[in-house]
Amino acid sequence: MIGAISLNKSDFVYTATIKVADLHDCKTKSEFPGITDISINSRTFANYFDCSNSVRSFMDNVVNKVNSELPKGHQYMITSEVNPIYTGIESKSKEWVAGELARMWMFEVAQEDAVSIQAVGQARVYMMPKGPGSDPN
């Protein structure tokens, strides 16, 4: 359904937040002593698929690294949702903002079937009108 959006007339960015303090004790957590949250803002992408691939890689890398440092009982996973105004399918997460396309969540595997999850990471993909200084890469 993303194809219904005018992808060619838009730029794309993503943001992500990892709640380091809420992670189980692991090497990654100890590499950021005293830090509770790490938030990142991406560069602007001229292409949705590059943006989408980058945010997936970022979240996959984080979850794979953290999981490699934890026992099997404390593994994390990622799920994603597309803004329901583009799919017509109700999403678990609410309060989508203008231009927001998709969200990814990082949470404990044990919470997979829970009604509400306690996420330790979140990424959001946004589209915005293509600017004159758009990065062609």
């Binding site: 950021f32 005293g34 509770t36 949250d37 990142i40 991406s42 560069r43 890398n61």
Partner: protein, 151 residues
């Protein structure tokens, strides 16, 4: 003319460009080139000196591999001994006996700020701040100082 913030302190680091590299190395090296900026927020510390020491340690780590940089640290003289000229503005609120201080570029609750520049490019900014509280009036600060002297 210092005051002691009655709230807990924390620090915030805002890294851009090359200053994000060391953070991304630990999280996701393969997407480092796609990241424009990173903001890190610390836990609350009961004493502001702890927040300052932790921030200094973090800034030192993040800047250790950066070359040709200028580091500029300023303290807000409302909270930490420093030159009175470092107060950015003193604004009169309502009446001559009711001054309010606005320090550190409009955020009165910033205790200390460290900025790293490369040329004119601002690549890292770190601030120790305390949570908001009712700032005392000028006359109240004077009264507190006088009480300390008399005691």
């Amino acid at each position: 003319m210092m005051i002691t913030p009655p709230t807990k302190s924390f620090y915030v680091v805002h890294a851009q460009g090359e200053a994000t590299d060391q953070i991304m190395e630990k999280l996701s090296p393969s997407t480092a080139a796609d990241i424009k900026e990173i903001i890190m927020i610390s836990a609350d510390f009961p004493e502001d000196i702890q927040a300052q020491n932790e921030m200094d340690s973090t800034v030192k780590k993040l800047s250790s591999k950066l070359e040709n940089i200028t580091i500029n640290t300023i303290h807000n003289p409302l909270y930490i001994p420093a030159s009175a000229e470092q107060i950015d503005e003193v604004l009169e609120a309502d009446g001559e006996d009711n001054f309010r201080f606005i320090g550190m570029e409009g955020n009165p609750f910033t205790l200390k700020s460290t900025r790293i520049f490369r040329g004119n490019e601002d690549i890292l900014e770190a601030r120790v701040a305390c949570h908001a509280f009712d700032l005392p009036s000028y006359s109240e600060i004077i009264r507190l100082q006088e009480n300390k002297v008399l005691n």
